[in-house]
Symmetry: C3
Subunit: 319 residues, 3 copies
């Protein structure tokens, strides 16, 4: 897996999962992202790094936020972007995914940004695609969402500077969350003191401890000593699958309110990958409150995706 993502020289070629990436490479991504943010006004300038390159957004699942930030990041890098919503495309003529990929790569494109409902889809495309093409995983099934994890790391570092003393809680549906899986890997690689998952037993994978986390089933207990709180989005479709009692019941037990937030450290920050279910996993007062960095995460998504795209597109050397 790690081999597939890296060149022989250990440079980034594809970005599919946090697994197998070193601390120094993750730090290089964060540093590169930082170089795109103007320290004076916090704006991002348009740079010509990928001028003349063509990036294809291959979204088999719909996602306004992720597709938009990838498109904006590509444009800030001066690349040409082609957005393809695949359900309405040639696959309706019966063409296979592989044939679609083969055809696109024949069109001299340089990068695929892939979101797909099946775990492993981005890996499959990276394995199959022509050598000059980079693949970025923008979320695959319940497996990984590594650019989301990296923008979360960027946001945490922006506020907390150092990972080594941080206790981070991830709260909610760990079982189905590709975001959580990538966050846990990134936090452990970057040396966080503790990653604590807080969830009802029905929403935790079996043997979750093997991921390198401590486990808690009670929000009030779990929030103690925590520096960073990461709320996960509750997929409402889980409700009907008998894994959860009801939204209000869930909110009562695992929803983050102002009073519960007080259990954590006074300078704890609150994160969420969005879109938020207000009043289900998080109270509006917390989401919009002073400890929330949720919108900062969205902003950071541009710079972090610019960093990953420009690094993967120049695997031979420095940027």
């Amino acid at each position: 897996m790690s081999n597939l993502q890296l060149t022989a020289e250990g440079k980034l070629k594809h970005f599919l999962t946090i697994e197998g990436l070193s601390q120094s490479l993750l730090t290089e991504i964060l540093d590169t992202a930082e170089s795109f943010v103007n320290p004076t006004d916090q704006q991002i300038k348009k740079v010509p790094l990928l001028r003349g390159k063509t990036i294809v957004n291959l979204f088999f699942e719909n996602s306004t936020r992720t597709r938009t930030t990838f498109e904006l990041a590509a444009k800030r890098l001066s690349a040409d972007v082609l957005s393809m919503s695949i359900s309405t495309s040639s696959t309706s003529k019966g063409e296979s995914l592989l044939d679609t990929i083969r055809n696109l790569e024949a069109m001299y494109v340089d990068m695929f940004v892939v979101r797909h409902g099946l775990s492993g889809a981005a890996h499959f495309i990276a394995q199959q695609t022509a050598n000059h093409i980079s693949v970025i995983n923008a979320g695959d099934g319940q497996h990984a969402h590594p650019t989301q994890a990296m923008l979360d790391m960027f946001t945490i570092r922006q506020v907390k500077k150092d990972f080594s003393k941080l206790r981070v809680a991830i709260i909610g549906d760990i079982l189905h969350s590709r975001v959580a899986r990538s966050q846990i890997l990134a936090l452990n690689t970057l040396g966080a003191a503790e990653v604590r998952v807080i969830a009802p037993k029905t929403l935790l994978p079996a043997h979750v401890q093997t991921l390198g986390v401590s486990v808690c089933h009670n929000l009030n207990e779990g929030l103690q000593d925590i520096d960073v709180i990461i709320m996960l989005r509750l997929q409402k479709e889980r409700m009907t699958s008998a894994l959860l009692p009801s939204e209000s019941e869930y909110f009562k037990c695992f929803g983050l309110t102002e009073s519960k937030l007080k259990i954590a450290k006074p300078d704890a920050i609150v994160m969420h990958p969005g879109p938020i279910n207000r009043g289900v996993e998080i109270d509006s007062k917390v989401a919009d409150g002073p400890q929330s960095v949720i919108l900062q995460q969205v902003s950071n998504g541009i710079a972090v995706r610019m960093a990953i795209m420009s690094m993967a597109m120049q695997p031979q050397g420095a940027i």
Copy 2:
């Protein structure tokens, strides 16, 4: 309202409604638009005014013509454009309009062009959005469509030079028309001699005179002495709502034919915001005839929208 649209120095910041804008500001928009048109070949050059800026088309209602002209205008200004058709977007995941706006503004965008079925939507977004973002109203419910009104004013000035002696007739469904509301305000602000609305009683708002118009219920009478004829599009869905008898009946009474056109001044021009219902509100011979400036209106839409976008994006100084 006027305060929201203007900076402390009285410069354009948002463009939401004609209401509260001065004659000199409307004239500045028309003059700026004129500066984008090459006097030799009437073409519009690509200019670098908004290079590196990102404009988001937020269309909650579909509109080929308006969306396309805004997109073309933005590209002529060298801006990056992101077109979002919101019905198919994140709101289907249950995110509120406000959260969508918050997320987009966190992505370093610079302008929202908003079309929405609810009156007041663009105002709401302008009130709520971050300070560095400009909002352009591309049509909100039955309230306003100010860029359409301004391109109409530009077209009138192009042909007739001076507003002060003009008698303008607006014909059709005044009651439901955001276009008419904005046109009436613009014509009165620019000093037209008379704005006359011609419509059946069922398609006029109560107390319509308070808008600063004269009223007529008969097309033959109403067209006398008229310099500019503005036909409104008949929304066919009104037919079923018992406000109107039938299309052919409407055409007989309020449709503009060649013989009726002769009642107006011989050099009267015919306008229509499009798309045209041929044979419903206007006869094809008139729509395609020598007095029609309907396609000129479409052309002028590019330059006028370029003017409004570039002025709103540079509220501090001259262009």
Copy 3:
């Protein structure tokens, strides 16, 4: 027809059909396309030939491959591209095709790339549109698909250098194929030694010989002495129309397998316009085999469309 496509000086103005175009003009297209391909790495550089020009993709039929290559070709020429999927546009408000065209041309666009289900649609638009606009036919009904034919010619020339000694077989549903019609015209104009169509009688037009082809109803016989094999896509909807027995029956008689391929000349190349129906008209081993140039065709689509677009946009002089 030829007059409509050419200026008075015989330069390309529209590109609607191969019919009426001279050998020298087709050769000029192929040579121009070649100039866009970097001989060292076979990549295509971004060139500023159409900077500031606006190209509108008017797709009334869906087509990922063709729309995408046109969009990429336009971007490599530095043009602005507007992609309109017309079924979801203004025509749903009851506007006619002609009004849509009139409105778009009023928006200062420079080129229409048209795909339409009706034969003659691109011609109609070229006849009706303003003088400064070029029209490219991207496929109209069962009539023509001339850019596909030209990229096929480019691919053939790339491998075989000279047309004059080539025997080319076109295999499959000739009757309904706009691709085949354009290929036959192009091959004959470029002086191929023989164009042979191979199909069951139900899938051949009446009097097909008048197109300048030899005819064969048996694949084993027809493939003898052949240098270039062009497979056509089998439209599965023909199956239900009683023109064909079954997919497996069709594959048995007219599907291209490795053993059948051996009947042709040993250096014969295999072409297909895509998307492929694997196991229906072509075996995967052949489609992905060493004699297949199917993906080369896709690549060449970019350069050939760049050539046609840039030539049509500059009818007065050299590029």
